[in-house]
Amino acid sequence: MHRFKLPPQILRLILVAMAIVGSYLVARSFLVPPSFGEYGWYRGDALKLIAARDPVFAGKQACDECHSDILHKLAKDAHKTLSCEGCHGVSREHCDNPDILPVKATGSHCIRCHEANLARPAWLKQIVVKDHYGPKCTECHLPHQPTQSP
């Protein structure tokens, strides 16, 4: 009876192919990051890495915790859409430690929005600074209640 015997060169080819596939699988298992494919064709941990940064701006809600009286006044007047940190600067440190005071808002913050510019929309109140009275805005205008005078 003739018994089938695999030719040695075919056997060697099979072994080499298995070695290549095996080393690919081993290398792949080491090289592919654990979170790959969590949400898609990328590293899911990258989202956590990007989200790990600490926020710099505290946000209006954080201001409301201590200064709700000022925010209450602000909400009733034309400046209700303004953020505290737009004029007073970043206040994250001030939130954690109230002794660290944020930057004092000055007249330059008023001019930033209210200086006349052709491209500004017409609904915004604008002044030509050199033709407008005064060295100090707060002499005539209350920044938190801009429609009222002191």
């Binding site: 095996g22 699988l25 081993v26 298992s29 080491f30 654990p34 979170s35 949400y39 898609g40 064709w41 990328y42 590293r43 941990d45 990258a46 989202l47 956590k48 890495l49 990007i50 989200a51 790990a52 940064r53 600490d54 926020p55 710099v56 701006f57 946000g59 209006k60 400046h79 859409t81 303004l82 953020s83 940190e85 737009g86 970043v90 930033r112 929005c113 200086e115 510019n117 052709l118 491209a119 500004r120 929309p121 915004l124």
Partner: protein, 269 residues
Amino acid sequence: MNHTINRRSSLLRMGAAMAGLLTVSFARAAKAAVQTVFVSTTAPKGYDPTKHKWLMCIDASKCIGCGLCAEACKKENGVPEGPYYRTWIERYIIPKPKPGSDLTRGEAIVDSPNGGMHGFPEPTLPKDKIEHAFFVPKLCNLCENPPCIQVCPVGATFTAPDGAVLIDPNYCIGCAFCIQACPYGARFLNPATKTAEKCTLCYHRISRGLKPACVEVCPAEARIFGDLKNLAADDPLQKFYEKNRVQVLKPHLGTEPRVLYAGLDKEVR
């Protein structure tokens, strides 16, 4: 030495190979478990990107060009000094047509000194020659078909399930293909890290329940930001696209941006 391979020894060898492969996968699973349990990052816990879909809308007719958004973005995200912006403001000046020409208007003049961070100087054109002028805030357009993602050779940039187009800083090789591919100029190469950077919608803020820094400081409510999957009853986002006729930038490119604009003129690109 005996070199004969019998059934017993070959079975033992195959078993050893299987055990080796299993050890590798076990080691990887253990590493992942250790990473999630013991390696503490400041990343907010409990944020599930599949439960949100962020959308940014811009009402250009409300923008007053104060530059607070561009400045806040730099501070919030540590964007390097110099001409690098994740968001910026452009001023469009539409001149009157030359007398005698049959055009309705002249060619638009666009400028953005310092990204608009420190305001805009008086236009060089005399006032009586200007038809009108307006500001347009710009940022990543959160494309549905982002060309920047197609060209990345290492797969470092991707769209997160919540709609933000992000870059994995550990995988970016800084080849700048994406910077060339973006039709909106929303990306730049960070000179310090030598990796591409872009607006992340302040991912570290929105995953903590805060608004992006530019939306937070905008005094005119020109930027409207919200979550399409968790719309409140009187959501400003819903109000915005119910009230306005919206459009996107460069619609002919088929990028399907998700940043919607209202109050644009035909010159805006």
